[in-house]
């Protein structure tokens, strides 16, 4: 007969706070007058993310004292890695939210109204009337909710639904850029089609695993892995398809085709959010799946995972070197970082979990910060109108002389991406690579070190470009300028920069915390 499930409300507070904020945000759209809408939305979202962060910290102390457990009839797990990934996610979301909300001269980075046809008279009217697409805030909150559930999901169905909850708002947000609307809409369509395609693969994997074990709960799958003889085909194909679906979200190489286009087309603030936070969520889920379900399959899955990791590192690095657009360069660099992170997944070593989460924090801070800065560097045409972002690398030449603070912080983020000592990137790489060596994946580490060295080349090239090259003189009289904003981006960038330095110089405190989160609850 029907037994009502026991729901652990206290443990669900972080998710409930965010979901509540998202729903209230939708109501705000309906009932709050337009003039004050943005402020209300911003305050609501920022408070919700901060509140969820506090709640996650509280749950962390509870888990430390009374141990991990399963929630809501086994749909979720409250354990160290999940809470740690959620905390990292919320910190990065809060910073990204500041960049998303920032405005320069009363205009944010989003189309005044998404329903207007680009270049139409109506769009012009909307811009003059000062409309703003404030639905961005509730959509972001929905995405963060999905990301929060994703690392904690303890069965594949919850994982699948969380994947969709985090993806659908991102598909929409990618199409809302204020300038270059066509590019943005196309990015949205591409992201959507390829995202739906990959979630179909995830789902087929889920179905095959269900056929194998008669359950989609990760713990029951883990128990069933060694037990069933003669059905390995189902298990292997199912696991591979699920991993493919997750690798797509991560942007690993054969499944990376969307990354450069979407990163370039999406509004820059959203790119920063998506690049940092989606990676955290997807890697945390990938870690859980690989560490809980597939340890028994190491030998069967290794060729596949090793190939993907090597391809991701090499292709990401090589293609980043040949790009001429700043956002595309950063996109390919993020692909290469996905490859480095995969080492920690493949390692199957306890240190790998904490290492990957630390790396994600370091990478996320640098990503949110650098995309925040990219959103400030704009093209100014001959008439003095400030328009879209200065995408081409050559437009960044000589920026170090005119805006030294911006250029220095951008250089800092690039050095962190490159993994230069005394930055967070170095500590992260060290943590992940040493876990991979401990897990016996040293050939991969050799490739990774070589790729890092090659990648350092193009990061340094950008730094040289900013500090030691004369600014170009454009024929049409356009130039590059750094816009003034309300200052939210500046706050986010400063926090990111300070974090990057601190995690590089005194990483021990955070490393000690990540080291405690080295075991998944089955």
């Amino acid at each position: 007969m029907f037994v009502a499930p026991h729901i652990e409300w206290a443990a669900l507070t972080p998710v409930l706070i965010l979901l509540g904020a998202a729903v209230i945000g939708v109501l705000v759209e309906a009932f709050v007058p337009r003039a004050s809408r943005r402020l209300v939305q911003l305050a609501l979202s920022a408070l919700a993310v901060a509140g969820a962060l506090v709640a996650v910290t509280w749950r962390w102390t509870v888990v430390q004292s009374s141990g991990p457990r399963e929630l809501v009839a086994g749909a979720l797990r409250e354990d160290g890695p999940a809470l740690l990934a959620q905390a990292v996610l919320l910190v990065l979301s809060l910073l990204a939210l500041l960049v998303i909300a920032d405005r320069s001269r009363g205009e944010d980075g989003f189309a005044p109204t998404a329903a207007a046809v680009p270049g139409s008279e109506y769009e012009d009217q909307a811009r003059r009337a000062g409309l703003a697409q404030t639905e961005v805030f509730p959509l972001t909150m929905f995405a963060v909710t999905g990301m929060l559930v994703f690392p904690a999901a303890a069965d594949l169905l919850t994982m699948f639904i969380a994947l969709e909850v985090l993806s659908l708002p991102l598909y929409l947000l990618a199409g809302l850029a204020r300038y270059r609307r066509l590019l943005s809409q196309e990015a949205s369509l591409k992201y959507f089609l390829l995202g739906a395609f990959s979630s179909a693969f995830f789902l087929m994997g889920l179905a095959l695993l269900y056929g194998y074990a008669g359950s989609v709960r990760l713990d029951e799958l883990a128990v069933a892995v060694p037990a069933m003889a003669g059905m390995d085909g189902l298990l292997l194909a199912g696991s591979a398809l699920v991993i493919v679906g997750l690798l797509f979200k991560v942007g690993a190489v054969p499944f990376h085709a969307w990354t450069p286009d979407v990163y370039q087309g999406a509004p820059t603030s959203v790119t920063g959010f998506m690049a940092a936070c989606t990676k955290v969520a997807a890697f945390a889920a990938l870690l859980r799946f690989v560490y809980v379900v597939t340890p028994g399959l190491t030998w069967d899955l290794a060729p596949f995972l090793w190939t993907v990791a090597i391809l991701t590192m090499v292709v990401g690095t090589v293609l980043a070197i040949v790009q001429t657009d700043m956002k595309r360069t950063l996109a390919y660099s993020s692909v290469a970082h996905a490859g480095f992170l995969l080492l920690g997944v493949i390692a199957l070593d306890e240190r790998g979990i904490g290492g990957v989460i630390f790396y994600l924090l370091a990478y996320g801070l640098a990503t949110v910060g650098s995309f925040g800065l990219v959103s400030l560097v704009r093209t100014k045409d001959a008439d003095g109108n400030v328009t879209s972002e200065a995408g081409h690398l050559s437009e960044w030449a000589g920026l170090g002389r005119r805006s030294p603070v911006l250029a220095v912080s951008f250089a800092l983020f690039l050095l962190s991406f490159a993994g230069i000592p005394l930055t967070a990137g170095f500590t992260g790489k060290f943590a992940v690579f040493s876990a991979a060596v401990a897990g016996g994946a040293w050939p991969l580490v050799v490739v990774a070190v070589l790729a890092s060295a090659a990648a350092a080349f193009f990061y340094v090239r950008i730094i040289v470009l900013m500090f030691f090259t004369e600014p170009p003189v454009a024929e049409d009289g356009s130039s590059t300028t750094v816009v003034r904003t309300e200052g939210l981006t500046a706050v986010a960038v400063v926090v990111c920069a300070v974090g990057t330095v601190l995690l590089g110089v005194v990483p021990s405190a955070i490393l000690a915390i990540t080291a405690q989160a080295s075991k998944f609850l089955l």
Partner: protein, 99 residues
């Protein structure tokens, strides 16, 4: 007749759907390919549910339907807004992004 027949049919439908996504340039057709793939996965789930004598496969398929419905709304809204801008729903027309 064995239940495996259903699984093979699901595999064929899944492959046809994925081929449509890869081959067709019209975004609406490509999207229908994705829908077919989701349905193939559902057929697999329902068949395995019967094989294991366990209803959770059916429940999962039910959730997949809900998810697919939400996805369709978003996808078609994106396609319509692109069509209004460009007068075409093709993935190739005026491809601004380098591939």
């Amino acid at each position: 007749m064995s239940l495996v027949n259903y699984l093979v049919l699901a595999g064929i439908l899944f492959a046809i759907g994925s081929a449509a996504v890869l081959v067709r340039r019209n975004s609406i057709v490509a999207f229908m390919g994705v829908e077919l793939m989701l349905n193939a996965a559902n057929l697999t789930l329902v068949t395995f549910a019967r094989m294991h004598g366990d209803l959770s496969g059916q429940v999962i398929a039910f959730f997949v339907m809900v998810v697919a419905a939400a996805e369709v709304v978003i996808g078609l809204a994106i396609i319509v807004s692109i069509f209004r801008t460009r007068g075409s729903a093709s993935l190739d027309d005026a491809s601004l992004l380098k591939s």
